[in-house]
């Protein structure tokens, strides 16, 4: 099918995009790799799109020794190819490589994926696993939202209708840091059935374990993460089933088992790496 009729505007700056959004009935178009299919199938019929693809600010990269701030407009393929200096010990590049297909990665963006907030999306889970912060700009300026508070549920975020996601702040992982990322897919490039992420940075004390994908917000496993910090991967694996049972009690047993397997493999990958 073809998309329903809509008006198209291209914004030259975030401020211009915000002003257009404030007029109402407008949605942001970034890469359009989720919005495009939805519109072709007439599931989404926005009256107007404001295209932020040409907004230079969305490609800013800034960093200090603890935090890196990545503009929302970078494509998955650019992150995969290492278009900016790596601060994640290779984690972002590998996660990006696993998103959909190269032709989609060449157009889809980091910020677009986060704002779309599909529970199975890789960036949604990665940013929460790293304990990142999202930078959002609206009519009254910028505000920062902790990644765990950004996604409210499937396809629903803390963004209001006149706000644009402009950047993501992520911790710089030290040379001693290890991470594991595992997603269960039956076919390359399809939506994950389950995602497991584990990150441990002895230098900064960062330890996070996350079970993601499927129905809603990613679920963090703080006790397993604490074990990871204190006793390493083996200790974390020992506690994982128990905490998963409690934290993922809302899932059917088969779905819970998929998450546990994904997280276990992420932790195991970390031990091997």
């Amino acid at each position: 099918m073809k998309a329903a009729a809509f008006d198209y505007r291209s914004a030259g700056s975030v401020a211009e995009a915000v002003a257009l959004l404030a007029e109402g009935e407008t949605r942001v178009l970034a890469g359009g790799q989720s919005l495009g299919p939805s519109m072709n199938l007439r599931l989404a019929r926005p009256q107007r799109l404001v295209d932020v693809k040409r907004v230079a600010e969305l490609r800013d990269v800034a960093a200090d020794d603890a935090v890196c701030r990545l503009g929302a407009g970078w494509t998955h393929a650019e992150i995969e190819d290492g278009a900016m200096a790596d601060f994640s010990q290779g984690m972002l590049a590998q996660v990006a490589h696993g998103i959909a297909y190269r032709a989609v990665r060449n157009r889809g963006t980091l910020g677009g994926s986060l704002a779309h907030a599909d529970p199975a999306a890789d960036w949604v889970n990665t940013v929460v696993a790293l304990g990142g912060t999202l930078v959002v700009q609206g009519p009254s300026g910028q505000r920062r939202v902790a990644s765990e508070d950004f996604m409210l549920g499937a396809f629903t975020t803390a963004l209001s209708g006149d706000e644009v996601l402009v950047a993501v702040e992520l911790p710089r992982l030290g040379a001693q840091a290890r991470w594991g990322y595992h997603k269960l897919c039956r076919k390359t490039g399809e939506f994950a059935k389950a995602i497991g992420v584990a990150v441990l940075d002895p230098g900064s004390g960062l330890a996070r374990v996350l079970a993601g994908a499927v129905e809603g917000k990613p679920v963090t496993l703080p006790q397993t993460a604490e074990r990871l910090r204190e006793g390493g991967p083996a200790a974390a694996l020992a506690l994982l089933p128990e905490e998963a049972e409690a934290r993922l009690a809302h899932l059917a047993p088969n779905e819970r088992a998929l998450r546990v397997v994904a997280v276990r493999r992420a932790i195991e990958a970390m031990a091997e790496g």
Binding site: A5, G36, A85, F87, A103, E148, T156
Partner: protein, 360 residues
């Protein structure tokens, strides 16, 4: 709208509607029918073309969004040495039968050969996974691309963008949250949600038994008529980019003794239909309050059902049930329910299932 772009080396200035995707503009306006359209949802890869040198899906790229772009379609590779080698290899290795996938397959294969050089078969198959072929079983395609890639070096990586030193604030900590509440296990397309109400069971049940009042508590629901057990109404949903509304009918049964109610309903939106059942029960709760148990089951038919992912719904239903309970509590306490917003139970499920597209 006017769009200026270059296609296969020739500049064009074209008038297109914003809704026209790049593939349609190439095929219908420029008569470049080598670009094929299969799924029109970014999955099959048949429409893959180069935009500014990078393979992209022309079916989920709007033409107006290509201002200033250099587009190369399968017709634009006549003089390209890599493509010439691929064409010959595809022929030699029987890498096509009907040819429908071939334009997209070649554009992707050329990018893989140039970008990665000689690589493993596993990596090659992974890279080609975004282009579907229903004839060959991929063996011939993989052989052809392997032959062309043999001995080649990968392209140099892009220059690294300089990172500017800037003072970044410390990362925010998420607000302290309670653990996810435990729900009953849900099998198939069914789930249960329990919500605590401040109102006593009698008062809560009395409120729930009044359907018109209940409807005001269910966000987005609008009750048009009640005739005996038959109800008719409509619900709307706004979820992310998805907006849908549908009209439906249902029947309601209430059992005073056990304080249970049941609504069986069905609705239509275009070619798809949804039917479902909501059951509710009021149980005595802690501290003189009550517990509202909501059970939900549903079935989807029609073209949109294939996108369904039942587990997705749970998170939304939990939030909806909590909102419903808050509104109900307010109503029982004599406060006005907040104005209904477009969000309904069935429509919510439906919108969610429909949203299971390329949500990446």
């Amino acid at each position: 709208m006017q769009v200026n772009l270059t296609v296969n080396g020739r500049p064009h200035s074209l008038l297109v509607e914003p809704r026209t995707h790049l593939a349609d503009m190439l095929r219908e306006t420029l008569n470049l029918t080598g670009t094929h359209l299969g799924c029109e949802q970014g999955v099959c890869g048949a429409c893959t073309v180069l935009v500014d040198g990078k393979p992209q899906r022309s079916c989920i790229t709007f033409a107006v969004d290509c201002g200033g772009a250099e587009v190369t379609t399968i017709e634009g590779f006549d003089a390209d040495p890599t493509m010439t080698a691929l064409r010959e290899a595809f022929s030699a290795h029987h890498a096509l039968q009907c040819g429908f996938c071939t334009p997209g397959m070649l554009v992707t294969a050329r990018d893989v050969v140039l970008r990665l050089g000689e690589t493993t078969e596993a990596r090659l198959r992974e890279e080609l996974a975004g282009n579907l072929c229903r004839c060959t079983g991929y063996v011939g395609i993989v052989d052809a691309v392997t032959a062309v890639a043999a001995g080649r070096q990968p392209q140099a990586q892009q220059a690294v963008v300089a990172t500017a030193a800037r003072e970044a604030a410390p990362l925010l900590q998420a607000a302290e949250r309670e653990a996810t509440p435990t729900l009953m296990p849900a099998g198939g397309a069914m789930l249960e949600e329990r919500v605590a109400l401040a109102a006593a069971p009698e008062a809560a049940w009395a409120a729930l038994a009044d359907l018109r009042r209940v409807a005001t508590c269910l966000p987005g629901a609008q009750l048009d008529s009640i005739e005996g057990e038959r109800v008719a109404g409509r619900v709307g949903v706004a979820l992310g980019p998805i907006k849908a509304s549908f009209a439906g009918t249902g029947s309601v049964t209430l059992d005073e003794a056990s304080r249970t109610g049941k609504l069986i309903g069905r609705g239509r939106d275009g070619a798809s239909s949804a039917e479902g059942e909501v059951g509710w029960q009021v149980l005595p709760g802690a501290g003189g309050g009550s517990t509202l148990v909501v059970q939900l089951s549903w079935r989807l038919t029609g073209p949109l059902a294939q996108f369904g992912r039942a587990a997705l719904v749970r998170d939304l239903v939990r939030r909806l049930a909590q909102q419903f309970a808050a509104n109900l509590d307010a109503m029982v306490a004599g406060q006005a329910a907040p104005p209904a917003r477009p969000l309904g139970l069935f429509a919510l499920l439906w919108g969610l299932l429909k949203a299971r597209l390329l949500g990446r």
